[in-house]
Subunit: 262 residues, 5 copies
């Protein structure tokens, strides 16, 4: 397990990852309405906000823009991903080696696993050397844990999300990003299932400030370690405003109500 | 073959492995009724009991908790496993390298093989470098040998369990964990088929104290070298009590009756 | 990202690649009417024209002819390709290693990706070590980005070409070669989607001088970084004449009209 | 080609391999009637008989028992094999590396190939590095050459066995073990097809002394270099007796009649 | 490209390869009528004829017989091949590494490619490291280029053979062996398509002296660099006689008529 004592990825032991792998995973259509965000500099700028403890991007964005931001942004190197043009069995190929991520100055690595899919066994095998290379480079590991496949009737059910969270612990991640399992109690169960692993809430698609902040506050309340959020921040007209509001909720245990009214 | 003369894994030449890979293989649903065991510290604590000569866990649990227990627990690194969300042909992908297991202080390695499944040939090929790397690191090898597949009409029949035990010997394991083949005579056959390989009884699901201890005593009586037990210990309300009773049966040839009455 | 400041591949920050992988990808039938071009020397000679900043060829042509042209031609090593006799799922196998390309004096490497095909995940995985080895050898990378497959209803639609261009940025190319998305506005969108990645227009099949030069001028006008052209140059009776006309359009922002009338 | 001049594997330029991979390939059911042979020591003891120039066993048996017999037995390391629980296309996965076989003191390596099966091309590719590593370690190579598959109507026909023998020569074995092609003339043809490669008769299942010795004598008569025999020796009540009789037939050109009457 | 200036493989810049991979590719049935040729020494002897500039054989024959002929024969190491018992999609697995071929004293390497088959992409990928290793060892490369598969309606049509020849150039061979495309003009087209690559005529099955020599003379006349011939030489009763006649046709531009009448 990674020692987070002196890590820039946590603040009061909490974490907020701004995730921006949408250009690869979904393409320019995700940028409808916020075309200016096609310029990754806009997103790197957001990541300089004090509330953001890490920015998750793929190799190409990191190579191109991170050199200008390495003093102000912590890089979470997202190592795998596919386009959404692809119609095959869910799988996420590795696009970036741990070695090269470390060379570019990454502070952490991120990797997607789809438990339950036909190629689960391939994904577990792919993850093994990635996880071990990250340990060699003393980099913490965030797993995007998204169960899918024939046995997964409801991918946000309490038992599935608790299993998703546990798999992060079992396979050797430090953080496990899971979707919200529809209730605070279910999220509490996932946190218990993950034991000493840090559960991150997956930020999901754009919602109202109130909805989003209450969700985050509920999660923090039951022991979630923070969130990894993409569209719900960078698709907004004013990302800075939502980051200002998230900051006390994530790092200072502020109730959503105070922040919304504040 | 490993030289067990000075090995901490055996005591009076017998072995008791506490196995806890259920978080990976089955997920949180296995913890129903004993939710507190979701905290792996509870299970590591159990493994400090004198009756336990090794604790079998996967990479994530070992990384996170073993550093606090390395003086009191012998680590059997379980190197492969899949989730039970997965619906494909039985197969168990490798999640942990021998090298990294050795680095974390493992005292032995464990590996599951499913003889007879469609991917048997892949599993045999996967096992080869694992087995040979374990020899290089002077680590004994335990094989979980669980025949399945089209030719396996009854996976607990005498001939299947004897074959399962023999495969551990043939492929280069030191211990072979097999299921109980429904009779003491059949287990004796498996022990003969394994020759100098050490057969471990697979502990199975939770049963009554009497049933469990009599089963173990029967197996010890026909030459089994011990057991590898999970749920039948950690799912109990009082795991320490059952470990107290197992200790004389496994290590001192005590009859089950004496222990139960004692 | 590659630093193009002192690179011979750009001139006024623009690029013109003469591509000649047709002998591999399509075979001698492409040479109908211009049989003398079966002699690669003819094409290497064309590449000595001042308008050409790089010649893209495969390993065999490079090995055989580049030693005679290395002072006058910049080599873009095209590393993958298949024959058009092949009827399988679209895929482009690697025929040339980065190491050997560098040894032969390559100034850049080129690689084809087909996003959306059944083997997309294989192609992404193949590209990873190629891209990283190119960085190790300080060679810029051009991606031929041609979406295909079940989800690609129209492979020249605005959204598909914008996604194609973005994938070059995301996966770590320096140049991304895309087809023309049927309108200047759509090409402008692709350029925005690619952000700091350099978009190259795919030259396509032979058209009239007017049609071709107007197309190129339109593209340059919306921020395209140049073109990669094959048949539209070498299949002409007078390739030098069209290169003379392309030169001011690509490198000096000349309107097509001036060049055509000039 | 291996230089057999000073090799302990041959005696008067002839060879008798005692093969004992049945525990892996067929399991304990093969030991019905001779249950005591489940103890590999029994078979290692047989291999100390002067008639046996090598004992063929897999990794597990070699690791466990060979250290006690290395002065009295020559080890032929059988590197691949599968269980007969497996119902897939014929294929034999590698369970043992040449390097580790050499380390354990192997005097030769053995490898099964099934020409004609759906995975023939995989088996040929698997065999390449094995064969070349054996040369690096100066170990002679025995190929078990057993044609199977759609094109093999009759797997003991003259043409199939001659082809099987030839493949040993072509692919780089020193010995090729083939089944008996039903006539002495057909075996003579196989020997000619193998040219300088040494053909070994596959001993087959248990037969009468007369039948077995006459078969062996016929084969020796037409130039076969010896035999590799398993069940036909170790399944007998008195293996030593049959080895006593085989010795003059294999090594001294004795007619079967003399031995049987003797 | 290999520098043939001082190469023993060419004589007056022409080449005659005696190919003998039939034992692997077709088995003993090819030796019907010339059973004595089952002894590879007979074929190695033929290869000492002055007309033969290289002998193409696989690993096993080279290991066994080449040490006795290395002063008199140039070895073309044929690295891949399968048996004709195999009914799968056309593919040719690698049986011999370039490194080991070089160690055995090979003067050139040979590799079969089937453009157009379902596994074309595998074959192209297999060929890459082989070709590059041959360059490292300064060994010239001969490609057996035999298009097959769904798109190949007629595998000897002019366009297919021209494409076959071109692929040798494109993929980095020095020689490309193709079948005769049914007319002298079509062969001339293939030679032009191959540009500086050396086209070798595939000798085909046994024909009359006249037919064979006229075919060869026609090919030499349009720029073919020689031939690679197997059965059409070694299946004859008097191979030396046909080699005597081929010598002036291949190396001295003699018309077939002169040789036949002479």
């Amino acid at each position: 397990m990674y020692d987070f004592t002196a890590s820039p990825l946590v603040r009061n032991d909490k974490t907020l990852v701004l995730a921006h792998d949408h250009g690869l995973e979904h393409g320019p259509k995700q940028f409808g309405g916020v075309e200016e965000r096609l310029d990754p500099r806009e997103v790197f700028e957001m990541a300089t906000h004090d509330a953001v403890t890490a920015l998750a991007v793929g190799k190409g964005l990191a190579e191109t823009y991170y050199p200008s931001y390495e003093d102000d942004v912590n890089l979470l190197a997202k190592l795998n991903g596919s386009s959404d043009l692809w119609m095959g069995d869910p799988y996420s190929p590795q696009n970036w080696s741990v070695e090269y991520a470390a060379e570019l100055g990454a502070d952490a690595i991120g990797y997607t696993i789809y438990p339950g899919v036909n190629r689960e066994t391939d994904m577990f095998e792919d993850f093994r050397p990635v996880q071990e290379a990250a340990r060699d480079h003393d980099l913490p590991i965030a797993m995007w844990s998204y169960p899918r496949g024939q046995a997964v009737k409801s991918h946000r059910s309490e038992s599935i999300i608790a299993y998703a969270a546990r798999l992060g612990l079992e396979l050797g991640a430090d953080f496990t990003k899971v979707k919200y399992p529809r209730s605070k109690d279910a999220m509490a169960h996932a946190v218990r299932a993950a034991a000493d692993n840090r559960v991150l809430l997956s930020g999901g698609s754009k919602t109202s400030d109130r909805e989003f902040l209450e969700l985050v506050a509920d999660c923090m309340d039951v022991g979630v370690s923070g969130l990894a959020v993409g569209r719900n921040v960078w698709q907004r007209e004013d990302p800075e405003a939502i980051l200002d509001k998230l900051e006390p909720v994530v790092f200072e245990e502020a109730p959503a109500r105070d922040v919304l009214e504040g």
